[in-house]
Every structure is written in structure tokens, then in C-alpha cells.
Amino acid sequence: MKPNVSDSLPVYDSFKQRSLAISEIWDAYRYRDAIFQLTRRDIITRYKRSVLGVAWTMLNPLGMMLILVIVFSNIFETGSTYAAYILSGLLVWNFFSQTTNAIVNSLRAGAELIRKIYIPQSVFGISAILTGLVNFVFSLIPLLLVMLGTGVRFTWALLFTPISVILLALFSLGFGLTLATIGVFFPDVTEMYQIILVAWMYLTPIIYPETIFPERIRLVIANFNPMYSFVKIFRATTYLGRLPTLEEFVPAFAVSLAMLVFGWWLFTQKAGEFAYRL
């Protein structure tokens, strides 16, 4: 058939939705301005409202770090750089716990929109991660200051840090999308998740040095707790001032990609039902 003028317009066909996971990537790309605008909104409204603005993003982890240092420096053999050790772990953990919750909430906050206009739902998740990344960059400033203050050595390995952060972000996106999908059908899962987060945090060497575990238990945690890998590679380039070893990097890389693919797949499979359920 010969195409005429109006044939050049884009066509939507509800039958030809063969791969939801793939078409959502394109849709999210077409809506990249929406992702950017949502991120911008979240950052602007957050910093406009509080008097201290950006400062809170930096003071929060610092305050928490201070408390933990005071409490735990008497319990563990910690050494002078303990504050930097804690803070580097805390930043990774906070990013994960905050963004995964933010993805669930942003989808819920977007429910009004999702019920009424067409919008690729993944833009809410992606923008929540981007907002988290912006906040993360701000919170790196206190980390660098604490490293300086406690006498941690700065090395070129620091330049590798963005890669660790990107892997962490991809993992969090995948995990958050999974959680959000389940949360649409069962809202109480989000409540359970808060409890799981607390347990999860204590199973990750953030506050304590991992050497407090016997070798066997440490291996179990290393193999079954993905957050262990992300804390480890982030700490390697900041706190330890060295590149992550291959044994540290490969699991983090594999787990973040696998989580992203799974989360994206699950989310897009179910996204068609969100407008019915939210």
C-alpha cells in the first residue's frame, strides 16, 4: 500500500504491544522531558520549603554519623578513621532505602495522573532515582570533608566512585520498581518493607567492621546480601583509596544489571493494570 500524507503520523495499535519491556524504554525516552521536569520539581520543592535548604541533605547523614560514632567507638576497635568508615556506608545505605521508598511513593502520588492521562509509568521511578542522585552528590561533600578531617588518604581511585554509584542506582531502580509493582496490588507490603529495611541494614556492614563476623558468616552475607557488594565497592574507592578488586566488582555489576532487568520486566508487565488498581 502506498502511504499518503496522514499515514506519516505515528500509529498506536493496542494489538502490537509485543514486548512491553522494550516499548516502555522508548516511551520513557520520548517522555525524557517529563522525567527531567519531575526531578526538577522534587528538588526545587524540597529545597524551597526548608530554610536550610541544601544544607539538610548534608547535615542529616553527618548528624547520624556523629551519633553512631559516639555510641559505637567504645564498642568496636575502630581507629581514627571510623567516622569516614560509617559515613561512606551510610550514604550508600541511605541512597538505597530512600530511593526505593521514593519510587513506591512517586507512583502512588502519580496515581491521579496515571488514572487520567497516558504517561509511561516508569518515568516516576526514573525521576525518583535521578532526584536521589542529585541529593547523593550533595551528600558527598560532607563525606569528603570528614575524610579530610580524619586523615583518610585521597587517591586517584576516587575517580572510579561514579561507577559504583551508577551501579547502586541501577540496582535501586530495579528493586524499587519491583517493590512498587507489588505495592500497587498489596499496599501493606510497603509497611513490611520498612521493617525489612531495618533488619537489612544491620546485616550490612555499615556501622560495624565486617571483621566482627567469623569468616563463615561473612561469606554468607557477602553471597546473599547484594547491598554488601555496593557498600564494599563504594568504600574501596573512597575510604580505602583503592580500586575495587575484580572479585568485589563483578558481583556488584552482575547483581545490579540482573535486578534492573527483572524489575523493569516485572513493572512493565503489570503497568497496564496500574490504571485499574491505583
Binding site: 498506536y12 524551597k48 502519580g110 497496564g272 485499574y276
Partner: protein, 263 residues
């Protein structure tokens, strides 16, 4: 040739088609009360008491919208009017049937989608536009016209929470309609703003028609439907009862309403 209901002929967009619906059904498959949590769900599943309510919002709807056509949809509350618009605007994917669209569909279902009270009018214009699927460049081009039409000039840099509800409604309407679109979906849009603004918005809708934009208007205001539309669809319980000439359909509809009231 809309004859593929038996799966014999593949449905196709013919030249000039904007929207084609073939045998579209939408069913809300909702868990019965008290099954909204995972805990409840698991308990009921173990007891073998998972129960769902099925609500058919649309049943076997077929229709075609041509370029430049103005179609009205009437029916009582809950007859499926809004669901129909949601299927066309891709908000709901139908349970069965086939939806084909050509060109850009602009929904006027949610005026001011995603407006944030702490952002200025300017910021909200870009946010709202992006959520409706328009690029930043498109919005930049339209910005001045949007401010002018919505009559917000001096307020545009003030946060939205300082606006009156009329101003917000005006802004929402203007953004949603100040765009290049091929199909416009309007759900009770002329209830926005004062009479002066309603006049203005009607003019704008008429202009769309001249530019061969197709429009579907859902409204309870029958005189409005009659004066604007080329064709009217009457929905009841998710089915098309009648379709055709506005005067005839609206009269039939009115008769039905009156006879129902008398019973």
C-alpha cells in the same frame, strides 16, 4: 470495512481515520472488599475464598473517528463515557478488542495534571506540558501564547498556591489546548472559569475543528452537544445504544430519560 470482529479481516486504518475501535471491552476485575492487603489475600487464598467483582465498563464497542469529525458522547453517569475516553487516550488497555490511533491524542480529562502549588506558573506550564508528552522546545514556543490566553501575565512568576481556583483552571485548559494535536478528548470541559472564558474556550475548540482536528466531547449538557457535534453516540451500561444524527439521538435519549422517570 470494519469487519474483523470474527478475526477474518485484519483491522486497518483507512486514510483519514484517526481513531478506530473494534469490539473493545473493558472490565474492572477488582478484589472484593477486605482483600486489599497481602495478609488478607494470603489468608483468603488459603481458605479458598478469593473473590473478585467484575464490572464491565465497556462491552464490544466499535466505532470510527475521521479526520476533523466532532463526535459527542452522551449517557447517564456510569454508562462508560469516561472509560471510553480513557481507552482512546491509552490510559486503560482494553481487556479485549482492538484500538488503533493515528496521530497525537490530547486528553482534556485532567486539566492541570501534576500542578504543584509551590512552583510558579511558569514552572508549572513546563511541568504540565512535559507530563502531557510535549517537549521542552514545544513548550518554549507556546509559552507566551499560553500566558496570554490564560490571562495570567503578572502572576506567571508567582507560586501557584497564590492563584484562585479559576486561574488554575484557566491555565490547565490553556496548556492542554494550546498544542498541535490530531485528536482532542474533552470531558465536561466547559465548566471551567467564568462565562467570558467559556466563550473564549468554545471559540478555541471551533478553531481546532477548522484545522481538521478530530474531537470527542463527553458532556451532560445536551444543548451543547447538539450545537457542536456532527455525530452523537449514546452509551448505556457500556454499550452503544444508538449512534448518528445529534438531534435524533438526543431526542431519543431525552424520551428515554423522561419515561424512566415516570416509571
Amino acid at each position: 470495512m470494519l469487519t474483523d470482529s470474527n478475526g477474518l479481516l485484519p483491522l486497518q486504518l483507512e486514510p483519514g481515520d484517526r481513531v478506530v475501535l473494534d469490539n473493545v471491552s473493558v472490565c474492572y476485575h477488582l478484589p472484593r472488599a477486605g482483600m486489599g492487603t497481602l495478609k488478607e489475600y494470603l489468608i483468603r487464598a488459603l481458605q479458598g475464598q478469593l473473590a473478585f467483582n467484575d464490572f464491565w465498563a465497556l462491552r464490544n464497542i466499535s466505532f470510527r473517528l475521521k479526520e476533523g469529525e466532532f463526535v459527542g458522547v452522551i449517557g447517564v453517569n456510569g454508562s462508560g463515557k469516561s472509560t471510553l475516553l480513557k481507552v482512546i487516550s491509552r490510559v486503560l488497555r482494553p481487556i479485549s478488542g482492538h484500538v488503533l490511533l493515528r496521530g497525537r491524542v490530547a486528553p482534556l480529562l485532567e486539566l492541570g495534571a501534576g500542578f504543584h502549588p509551590d512552583l510558579t506558573g511558569r514552572e508549572n506550564i513546563f511541568l504540565n506540558g512535559a507530563l502531557l508528552g510535549f517537549s521542552r522546545d514545544e513548550m518554549k514556543e507556546k509559552f507566551a501564547a499560553i500566558v496570554e490566553f490564560s490571562e495570567l501575565d503578572s502572576f506567571i512568576e508567582a507560586p501557584l498556591r497564590t492563584y484562585s481556583s479559576g486561574m488554575i483552571a484557566r491555565l490547565g485548559f490553556t496548556i492542554a489546548t494550546d498544542i498541535n494535536t490530531n485528536v482532542l478528548l474533552a470531558d465536561e470541559i466547559f465548566s471551567v472559569g467564568d462565562t467570558e472564558f467559556i466563550k473564549k474556550s468554545k471559540k478555541r475548540i471551533q478553531k481546532f475543528r477548522k484545522n481538521s482536528v478530530s474531537t470527542i466531547l463527553v458532556s451532560h449538557m445536551l444543548h451543547q452537544v447538539q450545537s457542536l457535534c456532527d455525530r452523537v453516540i449514546w452509551l448505556d451500561h457500556g454499550r452503544i445504544v444508538a449512534e448518528g444524527n445529534p438531534v435524533e439521538i438526543i431526542n431519543a435519549y431525552k424520551h428515554k430519560q423522561i419515561s424512566l422517570k415516570e416509571k
